[in-house]
Symmetry: C2
Subunit: 592 residues, 2 copies
Amino acid sequence: MQPSPAVPTAAAVVTLRPVSEAQVTTGFWADRMAANRAAIPLGRERLEAAGNLGNLRIAAGEASGDAQGASFRDSDVYKWLEAVAWDGSQPLADLIGTISAAQRDDGYLNSAIQVRGEEPYTHLWNSHELYCAGHLFQAAVAATRATGDTTLLQVAIKFADHLADTFGPSGRTQLEGHPVIESALVELYRETGNRRYLDLAKYFVDARGHGRATKPGFDPSHYGDPAHYSDRVPVRDADTLEGHAVRAVYFATGATDVAIETNDLELLDAVRRQYDNMRQRKQHVTGAVGSRWDGEAFGDDYELPPDRAYAETCAAIGVLQWAWRLLLATGDSSYADQIELLLYNAILPAVSLEDADYFYVNTLHRRTGARGDVQRAPAYGRRPWFNCACCPANVMRTLASLPAYLATGTADGLQIHQYAGSTLRAGSFAVDVDTDYPWDGRVTATVREAPAGEVELALRIPEWASDATVDDKPVTAGDYARVRRVFQPGDQVVLQLPMPPRLLVSDDRVDSTRGCVAIARGPLVYALEQPDQQPDVVLEDLRLDPTAEITAKRTDLLGGITVLHSADLTLIPYYAWANRGLHPMRVWIPAG
Amino acid sequence: MQPSPAVPTAAAVVTLRPVSEAQVTTGFWADRMAANRAAIPLGRERLEAAGNLGNLRIAAGEASGDAQGASFRDSDVYKWLEAVAWDGSQPLADLIGTISAAQRDDGYLNSAIQVRGEEPYTHLWNSHELYCAGHLFQAAVAATRATGDTTLLQVAIKFADHLADTFGPSGRTQLEGHPVIESALVELYRETGNRRYLDLAKYFVDARGHGRATKPGFDPSHYGDPAHYSDRVPVRDADTLEGHAVRAVYFATGATDVAIETNDLELLDAVRRQYDNMRQRKQHVTGAVGSRWDGEAFGDDYELPPDRAYAETCAAIGVLQWAWRLLLATGDSSYADQIELLLYNAILPAVSLEDADYFYVNTLHRRTGARGDVQRAPAYGRRPWFNCACCPANVMRTLASLPAYLATGTADGLQIHQYAGSTLRAGSFAVDVDTDYPWDGRVTATVREAPAGEVELALRIPEWASDATVDDKPVTAGDYARVRRVFQPGDQVVLQLPMPPRLLVSDDRVDSTRGCVAIARGPLVYALEQPDQQPDVVLEDLRLDPTAEITAKRTDLLGGITVLHSADLTLIPYYAWANRGLHPMRVWIPAG
C-alpha cells in the first residue's frame, strides 16, 4: 500500500480508494518536492531554535528549564515528524524516544502543560491539548504506514486510550477548542482497528455545536463566540462553515471521516452541503478560505477582499484534506478540481521557491506602499518560522505526502486526479505518467502492467478544460474521461488539455472584485507583480482590457514559468510572487 | 466665555477663536442633544453596573473588593464626567469627591492599578495610565469651564505635577502607549497657565516616534509594532497616520495643540500634511477612519472596505477634535466641512435615536446574513455598553459640547461653521440662527446685538453646496461667504444652500467601491436599508442607475427624516439605520 494519509478501512463506504503505489518522478512537482525535502532539515533547526524540541526534552527529563511558548507547540513537532515520515528522508528515532519519554504514565502528553505543572483539560477552549494529540496521532499513523515503525504509534495509542477514558458521553463535558482530534482518531482507528477511537471521534463530532467547546462564562472576544470553535450549530444542522477557518475545515474533515467509516449518509450530506456553500460564497479564486484577520475567520457570505484576505495556509491545507475525503466518498471530479486549485494556488504560494520561507497569511493583493504590522503580515514577505508556527510544517507534511493525492483505485480501474510525472499502481494495473504539466496540457499515460481482463483508466478532465481530448477524441470537462478496455504493457493513452489563458470573474455580490478579472491558464491563477510591468506605473492604476489577446510564453524566469502578456501587462503564476523581493502584486485586475 | 474644549491661550497663534456664547436652541441638533441629555443618567447606571465607579470607590477606601476590568476603566468615568460638565445636567460633587479620595498623596491616580497593588508606569504600552490621566484632565478642565468648580482641577493639577516630575527629558524613558495626554496637558496649561504642562506635552509629542512607546522586547502581535502606538516615525517626519486609529488621531490632535500654543509652524505643517493624506487615502465617505479590525488600525492607502470598515466611533471623534484645532489654526473652511461630515455621518450614526445604544464599530455595509462574533460587532446592533466602553461616553461628551463647534469669533467678526437653530455671540456681536438644516438649506441669521462699527458675518459654504446664495447673491462653495458691514439688531442675512441629491464616487484605487455610487443630500450621506425596499429583494443584488432622477421627500419616518427615491430604491440617512431592528444596509451601491 502507498503510505498515505486518509486510508479508509475495508468497511468504509467509499467510491474510490487510495492507490497501492504512487511516486512523483519528474517535472514540476518533483522539483517542488525536492525543495520540500531540502526544507525538512531546516524545519528541525527552527523547531530547535524556537524551543519546541526543548519543551519535549524538559518534559522527558532530558533537559531542565521553563517551557517556551503556548501549549500548542508540540503540534509543530508532530506535523514536522509527519512530514519526515511521508518524505522518508530523516531518521526519527531520537525524537520519538524523547516524545515517548515525555509521555506521562497515564498516557497524557503535552510538554508545556506538564512542565508548567498545570492541570490537564482545564482550559480546553484554548489549550490545544487534543489538537496536539491529534497531530501526534497523525504523525504516528504516518510513521507506521511509511516506515513500519510503531514506536510512535504506541505513544499515540496510550494517549488515545487516556482520551477515551476521559472524554465521551459520561466523561468531561468540556470539549477541545481546536478540532483535528476527530480526523486523527479515525485515522488511528484505521491503523489499529480499535473501534473505541472511531466511537470517540463520532462522539466529538456530534457533541459539538452546543457551546461545550466554547470558553465558559462571558467573554467579549472570539473566545466567547461558539462559532469561533465551530460550536454554535451541530454539524448535521449547519449550512455553512463559520468562525475560525482552520478549526472549521479540520472539523469538517473529521466529520467526513466519521461519515465514511460509519456509513452515515446524513452526516455526509451535511458536510457536502457546507462544502457547496463554502465553494460558492466563501472561497477566494485561489481556493484560499478564511477572509478575516480578526478571529482568523470565515467572513459573511461574499466577503472576499483580496488585499485583506487572511487566507491562512493551514486553512487551505484543511480544505485539501477535506476535499480528498469527499473525493474518496463520492468519486466526484469537482473535489479533485478543488485539490488541483489548492495545490497550485493556495498551498504552493505559501512557500518560497528557494530557502524554505513561508506565508502564514496569503494576500491576493499587496498594495503599493503596503506596511507590515504583525509578524504574520504578508507585507513582510515569507518567513522561516513564526511565533505561532502552524503553517510551515503543515506545508512540509502536505508536499511530502503529495503522491497520495495523485490517483485512486477501484476494483477494476485506476483514476488519475492530478497530473504529474509519476508512476502509479492500483492492484495489478500500473501506469507511468509523463507530462510537462502545469505548463503544457499534454499528458501521456503508458501502461507498465495490466491485468488480463478489461480495466478502466479514468482521467480527470478539469472543469476549466474546454476542448480536451483523449486519444484525439473529445471528452467532457468537469468529469472523468474513462478508457475501458484490455490494456497491454506499453499501451499509451494521450490526454490533451488545451490551456488558452482565460478570464475569471467573481460573483457580483463580492464588492472588491466586481468589475475585475483574474487570469488563469490551465490550473494556475496568475497575478500582476510590479517588476514585470512598465517602469514607474502604480500597480493599482493598471487596467486589463478583457477583449485584448493574452499570449503565453515559456521563460527561464522563476524556475521556468510560463508568463502571460496582455497588451502592456505581464502576468506570472500567483504561486511565484514575492520571490524577487517585495513588490506590489495583485490577482484581481480592474477591467477596462 | 462659552464653556468649550480647546480654548487656545491669548498667546496661541490661531486664526479663529471660540465664541463667547453658543447655544443650540431648536431643530435637529436640539433634539439630538436632548436625547443625549436623557442618556447621561443612563451612563452613570452603566458605569455603576460595569464596576468602573466601584473601582474608584475601592481605591478611595469607600468600599472593598477586587478591581473590575482593565486599567483603562477610569477613563470611561472621566469622559462621562466631561459630558456631565458640558451638559450641566447632573450634580458632580459626590463622584469628584470619590476621585479626589482615590488619588494617592503623590498625585498618582489609577484605581485598578492601585487596588491591585501594581507598580505604576511599568507596562505603559498597555496600561493606559497617562491615557486615563488625560481624560481626567479634560474632565477637570470641562468642569472648571462649565461650572467654575475647581475641585477636580486640583486633582488634575496634582496628577499633572506628578507626571511632570516623573516624565520628561531626564525622566522615565518609556512613553504611554495610548495618546491623549498630549492634548489634555495643553488644555490644563490653558486653564492653569502652568507652562510645565505645555512643556511636558511638547516633550511627549517630540519624544514619540523612536520606539519608546512600544512594548519593549519581541512581540509578534501589534504590541510589538511601533506604528500601533504612532511610535514608528517622529511626528515631524511622518507623512501619514498609521497603526491604531484612535491613538493616531488623538496624538495628531495633541501635536496640533502644541503647535498652536508654541507657534511651531513646522509641526503644524507636518500634521496638516498627515491630515491631507488621511483625507485622500484613508477616510471613508462618511468621514470614518480606521479600516482594520485587526489592530483597530488605519489600513494601507485606499484600503477602505465598506463591509469590514472598523470605523471606530472614538476615531471619528478624534478626527473631529483634530479638525477643530486645524480650523482654529488656519481658518480653512475645509476643516469645518470635515466636522460637518463627521457629526452627521460618523458620530451621530453611532448612537441610536432612542434608548441610548451605541455602535463601537460603524460598518458601511451590513451584509445579508451578517453574523455577529465579538461583542462590538455591528451585526449585533447598537449596545448600551461594552466591556471596553470607550465609545459611549465619548459620544456623550461630544454631543454635550456640540455648541462649541458651531461658530468662532475674530476681533471684528463671527464665523458660523455649523448650521443649527442656535444663538451665537462673539464679543458684542450676537446672532440668532434659524434653520431646518439638515433637511432644508435655508439658514436665517438675525442680528440680536451688533457693535457700532463694521463687522463681518462669515457663513461657511460647504464644498458640496453648488449654487448657494447669501441674500440671493451667488457665493462660492468651499469657502466662507463674508458679509461685512454695519449691522443693526434685527438685520437678517439669509443663506440658501440648495440640496439636490448628489452622487458620490470613490477614488478608483479603492477596490470595494469602484463602480459604485453613494448618495448624499446636503450634509447627509444616505444608505439603503432593507425595510424600505421592495419585498424579497436581496440588498446585494440592487443596483442604482446613476442617470435616474433622485427625488427627496420629507416624512414622519425615524423622527422626521427626508427620504430619497431613485427608481425602486429608497434611501434613508445613514445615521438613522439600525433603528428599526437589524436589517441589511449599504452606503455604497453598485451602479448599473
